[in-house]
Subunit: 146 residues, 2 copies
Amino acid sequence: MYSIGEVSKMFQIPISTLRYYDKEGLFLGLEKNNSGIRIFNEKTIDALRLIECLKKSGMQIKDIKEFMKWCSMGDKTLKIRKEMFLKQKKTIEKEIEELNNALELIKYKCWYYDEAVKDNSEKRVKNITPSQMPSDIKKAYENSHK
Amino acid sequence: MYSIGEVSKMFQIPISTLRYYDKEGLFLGLEKNNSGIRIFNEKTIDALRLIECLKKSGMQIKDIKEFMKWCSMGDKTLKIRKEMFLKQKKTIEKEIEELNNALELIKYKCWYYDEAVKDNSEKRVKNITPSQMPSDIKKAYENSHK
DNA sequence: ACTTGACCTAAAGTTAGGTTTAGATAATAT
DNA sequence: ATATTATCTAAACCTAACTTTAGGTCAAGT
């Protein structure tokens, strides 16, 4: 059993955000005591862990809410919940791939500015063709310019 | 030389977004012909590729704009530009790590719902302890619940 | 009794990153 | 010549995800 303040500290999430999530229907099993104060239990902590994970992977609040609703509908929604996670797995894998692509261009830029700072000028590095670049930088450059 | 419509198709970015980026000062070398129509060249295409990359890694428009301004200020900003890319490299690497963590929980959930759908019930899978899970799932579960 | 700190709700405000609209000009095809 | 298509600007509008504000309740310590 945790208060909203404790949960806020545990997850480093503002209290206002936790209340907002509750208002949006993300904590379906969240109880309140008889003076209206929220009481978080292991189940809601689990839900919050999942919310953080789904949010990190780009899912919108309204879609997370829909999932939570399915959870409250029992076994008849098992299949759709499974499909949601399979789809989300693909989404995350694609995002990781795209970030790796972005990283290639950034690595090229790091090399570029390293050379430029050495010379205190872009003149020389600007004119280096891919065939003159170190092989890992060449790869990064070509990956990000196709 | 490309028109805004051609660039829009090449990058799959709405024309309105390209105009918005221009308005925000992201295309510092972008020229217009004498009737006010934008003419994109290789330099602005390069800038756009970089903008996409920085945006994908979570950088804000105003910070991208600041970088573009440094570019227009010549060699005295080489060092700060280099530092920006080094910092952004770390940011992306951290994001990839976090997405990999998120992926672990999603993989556990995929396994969980796969079992539940087999049984047409959560009853059995709900009570499986980490030590009874397949070893890769156990790892994923423990990684995402610490 | 009263002050302090943690909690509550409802409603308004904020921010980023666009998108849409309206009204105009320009280039192209028939 | 004229209709269509592409472009332009400025300004209003939109959405998601919060955050802040205002005004109030509640429990614990002094």
